[in-house]
């Protein structure tokens, strides 16, 4: 009880007596505190895990780069030459038993660096082959490991190849642009003792019209110049795709689709509309003949192993067929409808796949939308990044670096 007889304090400030805080308030406070702490911890943990994953991926990339020759061979050569080096009758020469593999190490290295375009006879069998150049996608060390492995396994334990051998061959190849002109040139330049080779007949390539070159380089005659987005050699940049070496019918069909609105692109529509059909035909033909080295590098943090699995084997559990089952071995395309996808700019590939998936959502049952709808975001990035590591489609011409 309070004491009523005390004089009243004039300066008294009212106050509440100290009361016990109700238990529920403690409960709520404790619950919220725990919730907050755990949320903070989980967020921090997310960053930690993501960092560790990135580290793992970086390590995997390093491992990939340092993979032994056997793994490099499986990843880079076996889709055409087959895992056992037997080749494909009528299409891809065998490595097993090939005199080129057993010869001087520089032969294998120089073929890897330049690629081959034209007829070749290997162990009595005739091929009319197009092998890509690996110069732009593999470094000296990797090429040395592949060459060593190929020679040891298929060339009766022939001697090893060192990275400095590759560097020397690279310097030599700089003075010899373009692919080997069939077995004939290899025989003449490197191996006079090779079996007789069929003669190389240069395919007639019309020199591009000056007005087309002006269009490509300066945009005179309609639209922004092609090169301002697609690069001087059609190598692509960001999500402006690589267009060098794509088949002429495919490129022409795309230009017409952009102009007609069947394919939408804000950058391409005004240009394609302003081009005359004859210009479209000439441009398609010009770019289809460019043998430009790859300028694509993985950029989307995609898992390259997953991308490789999808490209080579697909994913049967998700109903995804292998990319290469339609786009051809090594993604070199199957004319006219299936474009080359090797060495494509990853941002373009992933964006295009996402676009196809959108079309599927809008009800399209066409082939690519159906397939792309089953790819998730991580798969799209994985495929795009993997394709960016492949050598570009071999075309018969030398890179036109001298042209400007």
């Amino acid at each position: 009880m309070s004491d009523d007889r005390r004089p009243v304090d004039e300066r008294f400030e009212p106050y509440e007596p100290r009361r016990r805080v109700p238990l529920p308030v403690y409960w709520i406070a404790i619950a919220l505190a725990i919730w907050g702490t755990l949320t903070l911890w989980r967020d921090a943990h997310a960053g930690f895990i993501a960092g560790r994953q990135r580290g793992d991926e970086a390590a995997a990339d390093t491992r990939r780069a340092a993979a032994p020759g056997a793994d490099l061979f499986l990843a880079r050569c076996s889709s055409c030459h087959q895992p056992d080096g037997s080749g494909i009758a009528g299409a891809v020469p065998p490595l097993a038993g090939s005199p080129l593999v057993k010869a001087d190490p520089s032969v294998v290295v120089r073929i890897l660096l330049r690629g081959i375009d034209g007829p070749i006879t290997v162990a009595g069998q005739h091929f009319d082959g197009h092998m890509p150049s690996f110069a732009s996608v593999l470094d000296d060390d990797q090429l040395a490991r592949i060459a060593t492995y190929v020679r040891a396994r298929f060339g009766d334990n022939a001697s090893a190849v060192s990275p400095s051998d590759v560097a020397a061959a690279r310097a030599w190849a700089a003075g010899h642009p373009g692919p080997w002109r069939g077995g004939d040139e290899i025989r003449a330049a490197l191996m006079p003792l090779l079996e007789p080779q069929p003669a190389y007949v240069a395919s007639l390539i019309a020199a591009p019209d000056p007005s087309i070159l002006a269009l490509v380089q300066h945009g005179t005659g309609g639209g922004w110049s092609c090169a301002s987005c697609h690069g001087d050699l059609g190598e692509g940049h960001g999500d402006a795709p690589r267009i060098a070496g794509l088949s002429s019918p495919y490129l022409l069909a795309q230009l017409r689709a952009f102009a007609g609105g069947a394919r939408t692109s804000d950058a391409m529509a005004p240009v394609a509309t302003s081009l005359a059909d004859a210009q479209k035909i000439a441009l398609a033909s010009y770019y289809s003949q460019l043998a430009t080295p790859s300028a694509s590098v993985p950029a989307l943090q995609g898992a390259l192993d997953r991308g490789e699995a999808l490209a080579l084997d697909g994913d049967s559990a998700k109903g995804i067929p292998a990319c290469f089952s339609c786009h051809g071995s090594s993604g070199f395309g199957v004319a006219p409808a299936f474009p080359p996808i090797a060495a494509q700019q990853p941002a373009y590939t992933a964006g295009r796949l996402a676009g196809f998936a959108r079309q599927a959502k809008q009800g399209s049952h066409a082939l690519m939308p159906s397939v792309a709808a089953r790819l998730d975001d991580a798969d799209r990035r994985a495929i795009a990044d993997y394709l960016a590591t492949l050598p570009p489609v071999p075309t018969g011409t030398a890179p036109p670096a001298e042209q400007h």
Binding site: A46, A50, G51, R54, H237, G238, L300, A347, A350
Partner: protein, 206 residues
Amino acid sequence: MNRSLPLIILAMAILAFATTLLVIVPKFQIGHEPAPAGLHPYTAQQQRGRDQYVALGCVYCHSQQPRTPDQAPDAERGWGRASVAADYAYDSPHLMGTMRTGPDLMNVGARLPSMGWQLSHLYQPRAISPWSIMPSYPFLFEVKDKAAPGDTVVWLPAKSAPPGKVVVAKPEAIDLAAYLIALDRTYPVPSTAIRDDGYAKHGAGR
């Protein structure tokens, strides 16, 4: 007021806590991040373009901060990898932006490297994308009867070109386009670079 001292102490403690977490710790985290090897300081022209970017208020509609794949599909939109702290080494103040009325511009130079495209687009965005809601910037250009030597003529589709005249870019437009083309952070960054991994559960799905 009763117990004013505890109240003041508590308020100061909260302020100190926030300052530590929001200012001091981040300073220690990112203050020593070196600029990536692939990133170059802005040239004088690009810096002038950057000033134009600020003056025209581009930042109110365009962010410069692509997110990680598990926060937004920015990589597939072609906006590039998620930005890291070091990407902003030469940006003072940064222009990260918060609104995405238009697309992210962190890598617009990689995406649309054509000076011609940028100029046409600045003059009249709807010449290129009929549905675009971006304002046009005709005051960065001059409409002339005939281009003088040295003028940068802007190509426009027939429907948008002023009949019988040519559109010539003023230096401001060229500066701004040069700045936009310089926005290219496609170089690789180390996996340890500091970045925002967002709210992704345990970072899965990356």
